[in-house]
Symmetry: D2
Subunit: 329 residues, 4 copies
């Protein structure tokens, strides 16, 4: 059997662990040949492929990023894209594709499979943890760990200086990183995109924290917005710090973690999850379970339809967010 | 309501996160008073208690160990233990106990509840991840992370020196830490207590690794044993390194991580899990769901009977272990 | 003998290690009694003191911040400050003061010693490493380590996405953190306050990096400024990213580390240095070497006049900065 | 100019940072061509060389180990070794050699230079920090950091369980790692090879620590030996734990860090030092300062005769060791 692999979308710790597992199991256990397409769908459209044998994936398990490169190329948006893609798959004699990506990349796989019969198996990937098909996505645990460590460090300053400390974390549409890092780091306020925040309430929490003689730490997802719906210029963290300073008269400082959260070596959890996803994607190909994606349910890796992984965003449940509220203020 | 809390058994990162969550939710949200008993069941038997208010749990979230202390005291094994325990609960006017512990501690809670009507709610704890009731126990992710980092560092030496590198990790009865850290670290051999190992097979893996020009890294759980069933003197890691050196003529070195794996600040995942366990244990007390323990199923915290958490060991499934076999040698 | 200790200025990893060493050596080896004054000079002016015995400093070695608190109170700026300070020292029967602080705090100690005969021994402290008397100050190594880890993580993204990545680090007046973290992290451009930067040159480096097919990482000290001398609104990192994006048409993202750099557990190097500073400050008191501060020269801890530690800023030597230039672009 | 580079002896974090700096400065600034010899002196003897241009060293700065490989080959011990070495240097038209290594490797460079006129410049390397010519060697700070983190984690257990905790660290002949990690980690006993230890004294420290209600943590260098001079079978850490348990009746556990201490990514300090060593070695070659090695004195990189770097071991000064004694027991 001949199998192609590609990684699409933003980079995410654990991508290389998936690639390695696909190659190790496909090549060593099933005797397949495995080909990597460069830069996501672009590599299939352009016929840019590289053979992947066992030595080619040696040592990549702990490395962030993807040895195959990535892009946001959409074959449906490229002139003649789907035809060229199918030609290149035929030229490579690829029997199946393992597609590692987020909603965009997997959505293309779903469409290629349904509309054009391209035999795809998906592996869900996003540091944002916002795919409904799976309990967790790899990359998320690493991002939460980095944000938590930053909050840990701010507690030192919060204990000895009278300052409002704001940390802006990733999360344009969902607040999973903010919620988990905020809980794990012991933040006093957590703001998520799913629920608009009331600046008066935020300032009340800040004030109540100062009354308890400690400086408040606020974690805000980059997509969180105030309840008045007014646009926020630039970084929401910087904006929030400015507003709080203006309203409370307290000095306020911001940390904007940015891309630091999506880089570097994946956590042990993410490597374990990514590795198992890779192994099970290979079995899904062996079983011709095309049109599905692997997913974690409890401690089991299962298969679900590609569509189920991409049809909507998994947002933070209001009940979960409310659970965290006991730590606010 | 008046609620007592205790932590029993070996220390484990995340215990303080549970205590803090119980106090924050119990005191702030429900207006209860919370009392900590010192050193596990010993504190209840001896009437050694300390009031826990919100300031008392400030700053303990990221700290390893337990501010309440721990012990292996069993009230059933202490003269008059159960009677004294019940007297002290009456004296403290405790309406319920939140019992944080592993199989031993929770087993006592189960018996006290069933045989003596003591109103207990359990919180499962073990770095070994060997409790069947829950997908994961807190402390495990931290231990796996520490062991994985050690393996990561050994790869550097494995790349440049011709040496067999053996890492002994925790796990007397189950191989969860060995399996997860071995997978996450990219070990070449993983040996677990659930399956006796054949020294000839191990040496064959070592040899095949050297043929690929790299030095082998072996992860061995402290409870793993050779197939001949002969007793292993001292550390199994040191013994294994000696045997491999003797049989293959290769230099072999051992790292014994020991207690380093159970100390230090909990990982973000473990803090999240421990915090949610604490919050849900409080709700179980509120609902008078005595005789149950909280547990993680997927991403939900649920309640299961205490007996179900303690009646057997959750061992590594042979299929899971076999899954890892593709990376051996 | 009776000795007072205080910590002044911004918080800095290693302060607690100094306090612990002063107490351990003063109390255990010399049999002194040691008193801590709270919140820097404020505690001496207000007579706010706490006895420090060996149990009081247990476990503080690895903790960031300062158990004594800090402030920027200047007794010379407080009505009747110096008189009240001297009265409180007399009331506490303090024979000497160990003053842990940066240029401001130590400058006050120098003046109190010279003008008012207050027996002070200094311990230099600043994460900025800008004190001329000593090869290194504690706190600096920790800050550089945190910034370096952030840059490490950005390399992952730089390898797979076409983006300009800007990291703003601490350093209002000196570029030590930027220089060391930039060198250690493999940054492509390092901008320091000591040398105004030319935006055209910066954009040229960015372009040359893209030509080599990799994304550029720029480290900029918060006090770095463009050569035209025009004021920079808000964060210089955000401003620089905006300017580069505008001029080159490339997407640019910023990480602003902020207070994360001065919090958390000190590095092993900083703990070693801070501990030795504490031990040697005690010996300086024993020798009545008032008006001096301890300092590191090579691997030796020496004594230098307080004035020498505070009379000017130790800036980044142009030759050192030029040395780093080979890695630019 | 044509310059060869080699790395010899045990691996050590920072080797790749030196190689990269030599290439970046030699090739980019001076226009030289740089060649790497594989596996230390073996590569020169066997003529096993690889061209090193700027792309070849991309991304290696943060990686442990050495991309050139290493060995303990001694050309003086190989039949015809020196003749073959000189022939290969001539064949490669190498004008000079940058030799990165410890006492063994640099000693060979000194002899080759003195006796055979081979133009060598040295770069001192050892995680043991035992070279007299330089204030610090790179690799040492990383090793100390790893050992300190392990001790940090053990404090958690020491706080909650009554156990003697022994950590064995590297150091066959010198106790630098033990001393620095012991000080930084807050160990209760530090044992070094430079000073034989008295088991009765060690047990007295252990007992006094238990009286203060905390469990003792002992750091022992692998080369530390008891005062009776009797041979120690196997790991000195395991042996010491056994002896203490036997004599005091306390449970004792051992952590043997082993090769974990010499692997993985170098600390920021080690990368800075290694990078500067590489840059200055290039300048030493430019100046034809053969027969010297670069070295750190204070914050300056200087040149000293190769012989001075290798003629004796830099052992822990008894005064320094005594300084640490205030923390024992």
């Amino acid at each position: 059997m001949r199998v192609g692999v590609l990684t699409g979308g933003g980079d995410c710790p654990g991508l290389n662990a998936v690639i390695r597992a696909v190659v190790r199991k496909g090549v060593q256990e099933y005797g397949w040949s495995v080909t990597g397409f460069r830069d996501g769908w672009r590599g299939v459209v352009d016929g840019d492929a590289v053979p992947l044998d066992v030595p080619a994936v040696r040592g990549i398990l702990p490395r962030g990023g993807t040895v195959l490169g990535s892009s946001r190329t959409d074959p449906f948006a490229v002139p003649d894209g789907v035809r060229r893609l199918k030609e290149n798959l035929a030229k490579q004699r690829s029997d199946a594709l393992v597609v590692i990506g987020g909603r965009g990349t997997l959505g293309i796989a779903a469409r290629l499979h349904t509309e054009h019969g391209v035999p795809c198996v998906g592996v869900p990937k996003t540091i944002d943890n916002d795919l409904p098909a799976t309990d967790w996505t790899f990359g998320f645990d690493t991002a939460v760990g980095i944000a938590t460590e930053a909050i840990d460090r701010l507690h030192t300053t919060a204990d000895s200086h009278r300052r409002v400390l704001v940390v802006e974390v990733m999360g344009r549409h969902t607040g999973w990183i903010a919620l988990h890092a905020g809980l794990a780091g012991g933040a006093n306020v957590i703001l998520v995109p799913e629920q608009r925040f009331d600046l008066d309430q935020v300032c009340a929490w800040v004030a109540s924290r100062f009354e308890a003689a400690y400086a408040p730490i606020l974690v805000v997802a980059e997509g969180a917005r105030p309840s008045d719906g007014a646009p926020v210029p630039g970084s929401v963290g910087e904006w929030l710090a400015g507003e709080i300073a203006r309203r409370t008269g307290q000095e306020a400082r911001t940390t904007v973690l940015g891309h630091v959260q999506r880089g570097g070596s994946p956590s042990a959890f993410d490597r374990w999850l990514a590795t198992r996803f890779g192994l099970h994607a290979v079995d899904a190909v062996r079983d011709r379970a095309y049109g599905t994606t692997v997913a974690l349910r409890g401690t089991d890796v299962v298969r679900v339809p590609l569509a189920a992984a991409t049809d909507r965003l998994k947002t933070v449940d209001p009940a979960l967010y409310a659970e965290a509220g006991v730590f606010f203020g």
